[in-house]
């Protein structure tokens, strides 16, 4: 009897604790996210919860996608967002209500790939788009695409760049943009173009420069320009200017890796146009190391107001400029100090030269011209 009474007395508190546990577990915040289907018609995503609003899983965007302010999107592990040639991406975030696109549970995803069209990203925070690794970007643009960024933050791009501009794409990095935790902020092909605003913030970025991709050089045709405003350029390897014209504007800084060179070949043309206040610079990315200089064959090189540093070669017949076959070299007002070659200019065969030897003779480290 006493036992029965004790059990009865315990029943109520046990029930109460049990109910409390159920209520507490039920009350845990659950995700209200909706899974977004492939986009085949104009789609608008609105903010509808305090947490994650949408989940993307290898999303194909074949029409206009508008993401309104405050939307929070998670992308499944290793998934990507593909904007096709018919697609268009418009992000309408604000400084107060940013749009967030990140990997699910903090895991890496493949980023956004844009093939064509004009796209606008405002008030966006892109995170953890790093699963493709090196030589890729959190955002990859191709074809004739144009991408406008304003108040965009790209973080955790891992070993890749924040933005890879391939093909003939044009990236306009507007005010308020920030890039952090990336190998490099930008990577571009020659044909593409990146305009960078003055207030771009870089934090914890291994290379604070624009990587120039050497991948697509063989298919280059026409005229390409490297802008002098903004970040310095880093060539990913030997630059081959073959069959096209490359103009480098005043103020541009080109860095090269140790042992690489700039080869101007087969009707290629290089025009380097610095100014007295904004000379163009060519140097090694590691100031303690050296690169191999210019190799010109059946091509034309015009250099004015330029600083060339850190060139050295094991082959004594190579100079800062090594010229072969039919080529033209016009060089003016160029600083060739801190180079370790035997000659400034080395020629093999019939060469048209127009160097300012008086200028060149100032550099007592080397001979001005060596002819073989």
């Amino acid at each position: 009897m006493k036992t029965k009474i004790k059990i009865k007395k315990l029943n109520l508190p046990i029930c109460f604790v049990f109910l409390l546990l159920i209520v507490c577990s039920c009350n845990k915040e659950k995700s209200e996210a909706l899974v977004v289907r492939p986009i085949n018609n104009k789609t608008i995503l609105k903010n509808h919860s305090n947490g994650v609003d949408y989940i993307f899983d290898n999303l194909e965007v074949n029409a206009e996608l508008v993401i309104e302010d405050g939307v929070h999107i998670q992308v499944r592990n290793n998934a990507k967002i593909n904007i096709s040639s018919k697609g268009k991406l418009i992000v309408l975030g604000t400084k107060v209500n940013t749009v967030i696109i990140e990997g699910q549970n903090g895991k890496a995803w493949q980023g956004i790939s844009i093939v064509d069209g004009v796209h606008h990203l405002k008030g966006l925070h892109l995170k953890n788009a790093s699963s493709r690794g090196k030589n890729f970007g959190s955002i990859v643009t191709k074809g004739n695409s144009e991408l406008n960024l304003e108040n965009v933050e790209i973080s955790n791009s891992g070993e890749g760049s924040a933005i890879l501009a391939d093909g003939l794409s044009h990236i306009i990095v507007g005010p308020g943009c920030e890039i952090s935790d990336a190998h490099a902020p930008f990577e571009q092909s020659f044909a593409s173009n990146i305009d960078i605003a003055n207030d771009l913030t870089l934090r914890n970025v291994a290379l604070e420069c624009v990587l120039l991709s050497s991948k697509s050089q063989s298919s280059c045709k026409g005229v390409y320009n490297l802008d002098g405003e903004g970040l310095p350029y880093l060539l990913s390897g030997t630059l081959a200017i073959q069959g096209y014209q490359l103009n480098i504007s005043a103020g541009a800084v080109l860095m090269l890796y140790e042992g690489s060179s700039i080869n101007v070949l087969q009707r290629g043309q290089l025009f380097v146009n610095g100014t007295s206040h904004n000379p163009v610079q060519f140097k090694c990315v590691n100031p303690a190391k050296t690169w191999r200089g210019f190799y010109v064959s059946n091509a034309e090189v015009n250099i004015n107001r330029t600083i060339i540093k850190n060139v050295a070669s094991n082959d004594s017949s190579h100079g800062i400029f090594t010229l072969r076959n039919n080529c033209t070299l016009n060089i003016r007002n160029t600083d060739l100090r801190t180079n370790k070659t035997k000659c400034a200019i080395t020629t093999f065969g019939s060469i048209k030269l127009n160097p300012d030897f008086r200028y060149l003779n100032k550099f007592n480290l080397m001979h001005a011209l060596c002819q073989y």
Partner: protein, 500 residues
């Protein structure tokens, strides 16, 4: 109250209610019975304050109905045989499973658009407690609503043909193409929600032992999801008698409503029922029961309530809408005069191939689905001891739009007999969907309630265009001594509990 006064009240009530166009949810006369407290509270929360019981618990009740104005069943056996498969063997296949015959489906030739409504309400558990003139209750319910209105009958016939022949590639008939030239507003909406209802009621004792009771039920709603579809078009309009006809291309909107995952967090303002009940007693019905310490009988009871004031709120929605960028034009008037409807439609498609529809999908839009707000008025009159006449009228207060739930309205007269352990009512109803008079029956035996608004098909299963059933269980401190002695409830003395 004299017979003349009663007649006057009834006439006024009937005349007033007949002037109101009918559009709201069905209900049963059983709900107003003096012993059906949990169900009466569903119709009018003020009933809780004036109920006989000290407490009652309803573990379960279900109320379901479906009606339409176009299709009807002509069964060769009574519908109740479907439940236990007791129909003849000639109506079963080789495996003993009852088969269906499409010939049993008949059509109402006097309508050109089909309207269908259906609802299921499952309530329980419900617990109510009354202390003197206050009553408080808590209950839980799940509601499922469906409606399909304005559906052209040719489209329904086409779909039946697809089901009947088992083919999905049956071509549209000329009638369907011809329907495209007319004004259409097809609405299909299905939605469900569950709610926890908190009821508070207060009874005021007035002079001459009359009562006025007010009640309020607040519903904490959790939307469970649903779908909605609207197809709207203005048909074919003559722009200029000498040249052009304008075809107003349809606007289509399809919406998916998804339930929230965080169910315990309040979402929106919920819903509310409010009502009042006035009880009149004459000398004959004045009897204050010692056990209950209140008058339990009445001569006339009049009540009015507004139910389901509120909306279902959805934030997890996917809504796709299609609109043509411009109306389609047809410049060849002569062809229109003698042309085949299908050929005309094909030509419209060809001539206007460049007119692409504007298709937009919106995720996460905050959408409201209006609950079936309705006004209910009831009059309950005791003719002689234990015999009552109940008149119940409902009217919908919602607009007939695709974003609102509603059920067709009702006018119902129910004569009933009620006693401590047994009750029977015979509701006669007229409904908006298909304005025919139906005869139902309501039964209570001890703690169990069962009723239907259409009993005739059980005996004569022809032209069945609607079905409804109500079943519930309720336990309370009533009916009385026999009940208490059976269950060992000995708190009250013999004297205090003899009469109710």
């Amino acid at each position: 109250m004299s017979v003349l006064k009663f007649k006057n009240i009834c006439i006024m009530f009937c005349v007033t209610s007949s002037l109101i166009s009918l559009e709201a949810q069905t209900n049963f006369g059983l709900g107003i019975s003096n012993y059906s407290s949990s169900f009466a509270v569903q119709i009018n929360p003020a009933e809780a304050g004036r109920m006989k019981h000290h407490w009652f618990i309803s573990p379960f009740s279900i109320n379901s109905n479906i009606h339409n104005n176009y299709l009807a069943l002509n069964l060769p056996y009574s519908p109740y045989r479907i439940l236990n498969r007791s129909m003849g063997d000639q109506y079963k296949d080789n495996n003993g499973v009852p088969f269906r015959n499409w010939k049993w489906v008949s059509r109402n030739g006097s309508v050109d658009k089909m309207n269908l409504y259906g609802s299921v309400r499952i309530q329980g558990p419900a617990i109510f407690v009354r202390k003197k003139n206050f009553a408080f209750g808590i209950s839980q319910e799940v509601n499922i609503f469906s409606k399909a209105t304005g559906v052209p009958i040719h489209l329904v016939n086409h779909q039946l043909k697809v089901l009947q022949e088992g083919k999905s590639n049956i071509e549209f008939s000329d009638d369907i193409y011809a329907q495209l030239t007319k004004t259409n507003d097809i609405q299909v909406l299905q939605n469900a929600y569950n709610s926890i209802n908190l009821t508070l009621s207060r009874n005021f004792e007035l002079k001459n032992d009359r009562n006025l009771s007010f009640g309020l039920t607040y519903k904490i709603i959790n939307s469970l999801g649903g779908v909605g579809l609207q197809v709207k078009s203005d048909g074919l309009n003559l722009v200029d008698s000498t040249k052009d006809l304008k075809f107003s291309a349809p606007t289509v909107r399809f919406t998916e409503y998804y339930a929230r995952n965080n169910k315990l967090k309040a979402h929106g303002r919920g819903a509310m029922d409010i009502g009042f009940v006035y009880t009149y007693r004459n000398k004959e019905t004045l009897r204050r029961a010692k056990y209950l310490k209140r008058h339990t009988d009445y001569k006339v009871k009049v009540g009015m309530s507004i139910l389901d004031i509120g909306n279902l709120i959805y934030t997890r929605t996917i809504s796709t809408s299609m609109e043509s960028k411009e109306d389609l034009g047809l410049s060849i008037l002569e062809q229109m005069q003698n042309g085949d409807p299908q050929e005309i439609f094909n030509e419209l498609q060809t001539d206007n191939a460049n007119t692409e529809p504007n298709l937009v999908t919106i995720y996460g839009d905050r959408l409201n689905v209006g609950l079936p707000t309705r006004l209910m008025a009831h009059l309950d009159f005791q003719l002689i001891k234990r015999f009552y006449l109940n008149i119940l009228v409902t009217k919908g207060l919602r607009k007939k739009s695709v974003d609102n739930l509603y059920s067709p309205s009702l006018f119902q007269i129910t004569p009933r007999f009620e006693s401590r352990f047994f009750e029977i009512g015979l509701p006669v109803s007229i409904r908006e969907v298909r304005p025919t008079i139906t005869q139902g029956v309501t039964l209570r035996a001890f703690n169990f309630f069962i009723s239907t608004q259409n009993i005739v098909p059980f005996f004569k299963p022809k032209k069945i265009s609607e079905a409804s059933v109500f079943f519930g269980v309720q336990f309370s401190n009533l009916p009385g001594r026999a009940f208490r002695m059976k269950y060992g409830y000995r708190k009250f003395s013999k004297k205090g509990c003899s009469k109710f």
